[in-house]
């Protein structure tokens, strides 16, 4: 009896259930699935006279219900297993993520090639490459080779931008 009480106290002293990763993950999946499920009700329906088989929304609806059900099972099973403390993500991860966003912004507003060059230089630098020559190889030389290769062999035309316009003109 004492052991049971001790266990209960130990569980109480640990993090509350809503801060545990399994709960957070299950909660996010279910939330997104619910939003998508609601969206399926906005899909156009085929008039009954033309409808053959099931409506276009039925299949995604069934999938989303299945995902919600299975996620609930995952959460239920995770309660039974001992909880491991989640490791924190390092700064380098967030810098890489920020570099993705920067890539998107530059590619959308300025230039696709410039976006790749800036991204490559930034990531390579923050991952530990401080030698200028290697940074230039990664951010300028290699993307140029890739661009020329794709253009020559695949006949690819890259989206317009300040650098690509100069190249194409």
């Amino acid at each position: 009896m004492n052991n049971v009480l001790k266990k209960k106290r130990a569980n109480k002293s640990s993090l509350p259930f809503f801060l545990k990763s399994s709960f957070k993950v299950s909660f996010i999946i279910i939330l997104i699935s619910l939003i998508l499920l609601i969206t399926t009700f906005t899909f156009d329906a085929v008039p009954p006279i033309l409808n053959r088989g099931i409506q276009p929304a039925t299949f995604p609806k069934a999938l989303l219900v299945l995902i919600i059900f299975l996620t609930s099972v995952v959460f239920y099973l995770s309660i039974k297993t001992p909880w491991k403390k989640e490791s924190k993500l390092p700064k380098s991860f967030f810098i890489t993520l920020m570099a993705f966003i920067l890539f998107l912004v530059i590619a959308k507003t300025l230039d696709f090639f410039l976006a790749i060059a800036v991204f490559s230089a930034l990531v390579s630098y923050y991952w530990g490459e401080k030698r200028i020559i290697y940074l230039l190889i990664v951010s300028i030389l290699f993307p140029i080779i890739v661009f020329i290769f794709f253009e020559t062999f695949l006949g690819l035309r890259f989206p317009p931008g300040i650098i690509t316009n100069i190249y194409y003109n």
Binding site: K108, V123, S124, W127
Partner: protein, 494 residues
């Protein structure tokens, strides 16, 4: 006899031989680099295959598949890090043996057993794929639906990680395939008014995002990781004593690998684990396992390479991918206008047997490359991540953009990169998403067409014997993890 001549045709085609040469070389490089591998590499190379004819394109992809699977062993033995997940079991004995100063012997055994496993599985492919294709003539829409469901449940149950999480990932993959215009009614689904989404979400942005970009994010969390490479003088062919000790293990693991490969799941990884554990179970010296047993290396390597041919059986005969890499190969086939299935066997035998023959040659080629060039390939692991991954990013972005020249595809790729990273972090495998995505259209299409045939009566599925068999097998597959749990715990303890 005619088929044999088709199989030998690549030997007399200088173009195919060049493609095979570069495919094997590229596959080895991809296999050696931890975090890359044949799936990501295949997806990255897919846009380039558009410059080739269909046979050359598929030969290139299959050569990458065969050589990439073997290449993982080089890193597993020399730096104790599997180049591909399928080489994880090779680390257990490969690295300890290398530490004893026998890296050359370990690599020699890995090369020989991988080659034998690979060739064995191609023979299985040559005999079984046409038989399976013949059987598929009996299949109608309900049977294909049941088969796809069976494939997905198998993927969940014998794939890596939690079966329930695998099922969620597979359902997520199928859900992605529903984005865009409904193929039967042209009604928009999940497009949110974005025109680019009307055509649906392409396979390449998702696969490159889930594999390459998510791996880049994973690498960003491990920057302080240092690899210690064991010195390698030269690769040695196994001695007569080694052959006597391992020939039964190699044959057994080749059989296991081919069988596991046929089942739709991440075949190579599971096959190598089972091949390894069976090698230990049958060994006269099981206490040597984990300390540098040559039998352990042979068991794992023969099995994971045997899974390559096995996985091609359902891919070519039914259009159901046997692994993540074969899903990429299947996409390659579709992009080049080749529809896998029984009709392909009847109408284009020269194409199919050309692939079989090329796989056979690829296995021999990686033996030669591995034997003479392992030392050189091992040096590739010295390329630092801070140089390698920005380059892979540039290739991923350009490759993804090139297929439909759509910048939206690049956004989709990055989105799935982030999704894939968090999926892996929280124990969800990304492989079922890929298989789900590629099977999605088949699952929904056959279900809806079956319901049209059955006039909306779901119970009619149970009146079709083949469909009923697949559904029963699917239920067994779902129950299988309950029995598997004990076995896995035992394997992990070992």
């Amino acid at each position: 006899m005619e088929n044999l001549s088709y199989m030998l045709a690549p030997l007399f085609s200088s173009k195919l031989l060049i493609v095979l040469f570069f495919g094997t070389l590229f596959g080895l490089i991809l296999g050696v680099l931890p975090g890359l591998g044949p799936t990501t590499g295949g997806a990255l190379i897919l846009p380039f295959t558009m410059t080739l004819d269909p046979l050359s394109a598929i030969v290139l992809l299959t050569a990458i598949y065969c050589a990439g699977t073997y290449g993982g062993a080089i890193t597993a033995i020399l730096i104790n890090t599997p180049g591909t997940p399928a080489a994880a079991a090779t680390c257990l004995d490969g690295y300890p043996l290398a530490q004893k100063g026998e890296a050359g012997r370990a690599l020699g055994m890995a090369t020989v057993s991988s080659t034998i496993g690979g060739i064995f599985s191609v023979i299985i492919l040559v005999f079984f794929a046409p038989l399976l294709a013949k059987l598929a003539y009996e299949f109608g829409q309900p049977e294909y639906f049941a088969l796809a469901i069976f494939g997905l449940t198998m993927l969940a149950s014998i794939g890596e990680g939690s079966p329930v999480k695998n099922l969620i990932a597979a359902a997520f993959g199928i859900l992605i395939s529903t984005v865009g215009k409904d193929f039967m009614t042209s009604i928009d689904r999940f497009t949110y008014g974005i025109n680019e989404l009307s055509e649906g979400i392409g396979f390449i942005p998702v696969v490159v995002g889930l594999f390459a970009i998510s791996e880049m994010l994973t690498q960003s969390t491990m920057l302080d990781q240092v690899f210690k490479r064991v010195a390698l003088k030269a690769v040695k062919l196994p001695s007569l004593k080694d052959y006597k000790l391992t020939w039964k293990t190699i044959l057994r693991s080749s059989g296991i690998g081919s069988f596991i490969g046929v089942l739709p799941a991440e075949g190579g990884t599971v096959a190598s684990l089972i091949g390894y554990s069976e090698a230990k179970r049958w060994s006269k010296t099981p206490e040597e396992f984990g300390k540098g047993s040559i039998e352990g290396i042979a068991g794992a390597e023969a099995a994971n390479n045997a899974a390559t041919g096995g996985a091609m059986v359902p891919t070519l005969a039914l259009g159901i991918p046997g692994s993540a890499t074969t899903a990429v190969i299947l996409t390659g086939l579709i992009i080049h206008g080749v529809r896998p299935g029984p009709e392909l066997f009847r109408e284009q035998p020269e194409f199919l047997y050309g692939i079989f023959g090329s796989m056979l040659i690829a296995n021999i080629l990686f033996f030669i490359f591995g034997f003479f060039g392992a030392k050189l390939f091992a040096r590739i692991t010295l390329v630092p991540n801070k140089i390698l991954w920005p380059m892979i990013f540039a290739l991923s972005v350009c490759g993804t953009y090139s297929l439909s020249q759509s910048i939206t595809d690049v956004w989709i790729m990055l989105f799935f990169g982030v999704v894939g990273f968090f999926m892996r972090r929280y124990g969800f495998s990304v492989v079922p998403v890929i298989i789900g995505l590629i099977l999605g259209e088949l699952v929904e299409g056959t279900l809806r067409q079956s319901l049209v045939i059955f006039d909306g009566n779901w119970l009619m599925f149970l009146t079709r014997p083949i469909a009923l068999t697949f559904f029963t097998l699917a239920i067994i597959a779902l129950l299988f993890p309950l029995f598997k749990k004990k076995k896995i715990t035992k394997l992990k303890k070992n």
